[in-house]
Symmetry: C2
Subunit: 218 residues, 2 copies
């Protein structure tokens, strides 16, 4: 059974701890704030009140036996000390939260395996959504690509996906189709699917190709 | 030219303001903290020091003329007042940051068109990545789906995507292929692409189907 230690139970740490616990992961949470520890204890396996910048505290909780240790605090000096000690105590995988790129670089150099900057990630995502109104999502993996939602263009209606050959002609891929006013979503539709008048298409493609397609569907 | 007003220049607000400005959007930033306003002014169109909970301030900056207004502060009472006033001043689109679900519900009821909870979103994303190690991304649009990276399974090698018929047989779709140790990524590979020995596949599919595929590639 997987075991994760979450150090710092602010908004990020507590959400992470509870989500993991709900998925059946054994979660130990630590915070110096007694109220936060008390609040979360019904939801996770174990919760401790402690100052995690003290190396003996980290030693006593068996960090080397956890699959992952999460350092979830914005305080630079505290996070820096904790990541240093975790590495020295041979933690197998360290995920750390940072405030900005400088903080992230420091934590990586000290041994964090993965660093996340929640506010920056959310800001980038929202900026892209504000700039591209039809955008419903984008993939950090493929930064030039995004997923847009658009009404089926007139010239697509009555034709199958196979006929339309969208990948080759438009360099886009239809990930999902939804009948308007319905919650039913057809994901990875088959090539034989015939596009109908009241369908919404969720399309993955490069920004420039999607804008061409979006222009056509208006 | 698109115009956006960002109220609150903390980590989320300032990152959003700068990203939009870099994309050519006209950005007006507001914060009561003079230092933050000073720091950001080289990067955006205009930056003002002001208390945004004062309705006359919001009136004077022409909120009804902006394409979007962003309320980016965690303080509940301040964000609540500002969203109320923005709605009364007929702001066209309000994006607000919230601390948790309760805060989000309140802002939506008061008129926010879209609410984001950065720490919660990041926590959910990281929890999923921790639980599914091959996962490189997931789409909030399609919550049961995720994108996994895996080495080409032996039985795929030498066969074309068309032959393998992955969509129908495995209910997955190969979004991209990368030669190991290369940065070159083939996105939306053609059906004729023949899978080679040293290729990494970025596959989109439902969790249960991906785990089948992942088990095969080990
Ligand atoms: N030395 C420490 N030992 C244990 N817990 C600590 C220590 N320092 C800070 N914390 C805890 O870490 C948590 C998160 O810290 P902080 O509030 O600085 O981060 P935050 O970035 O505002 O959090 P979030 O954005 O996740 O809400 C707090 O609950 C705090 O009590
Ligand atoms: N009434 C107000 N008028 C103008 N600016 C304000 C007002 N109240 C708060 N702010 C500003 O909003 C910014 C963000 O607020 P706060 O620090 O509460 O949010 P935060 O959630 O910690 O921010 P972030 O996570 O984005 O760093 C701060 O820079 C603060 O000065």
């Amino acid at each position: 059974k997987r075991k994760v230690i979450v150090i710092g139970l602010g908004k990020f740490g507590s959400n992470l701890a509870k989500t993991l616990a709900a998925e059946g992961v054994e979660v130990l949470g630590i915070d110096k704030n007694e109220k936060l520890v008390e609040d979360i204890s019904p939801d996770i396996s174990e919760a401790l009140v402690a100052d995690a910048t003290r190396k003996e505290v980290l030693k006593s909780i068996g960090v080397e036996e956890a699959d992952q240790v999460v350092v979830a605090m914005s305080n630079l000096s505290a996070s820096v000390l904790i990541v240093l000690y975790l590495r020295e105590l041979k933690a197998r995988f360290i995920l750390a939260k940072a405030n900005d790129e400088d903080h992230a670089r420091i934590l990586r150099l000290l041994g964090a395996d993965r660093v996340v900057i929640p506010e920056q990630d959310a800001a980038l995502r929202e900026a892209r959504t504000l700039i591209t109104p039809n955008m419903v999502d984008f993939l950090p993996l493929l930064p030039d690509f995004l997923i847009a939602k658009l009404d089926a263009p007139d010239e697509f209606i009555g034709h199958s996906l196979k006929e339309l050959d969208l990948r080759r002609r438009y360099h886009v891929y239809i990930l999902a189709i939804r009948k308007k006013h319905s919650t039913k979503l057809i994901v990875l539709p088959p090539a034989e699917h015939i596009i109908e008048k009241d369908e919404e298409l969720f399309v993955l493609g490069k920004k420039e190709y999607l804008s061409k397609l979006l222009a056509q569907s208006e």
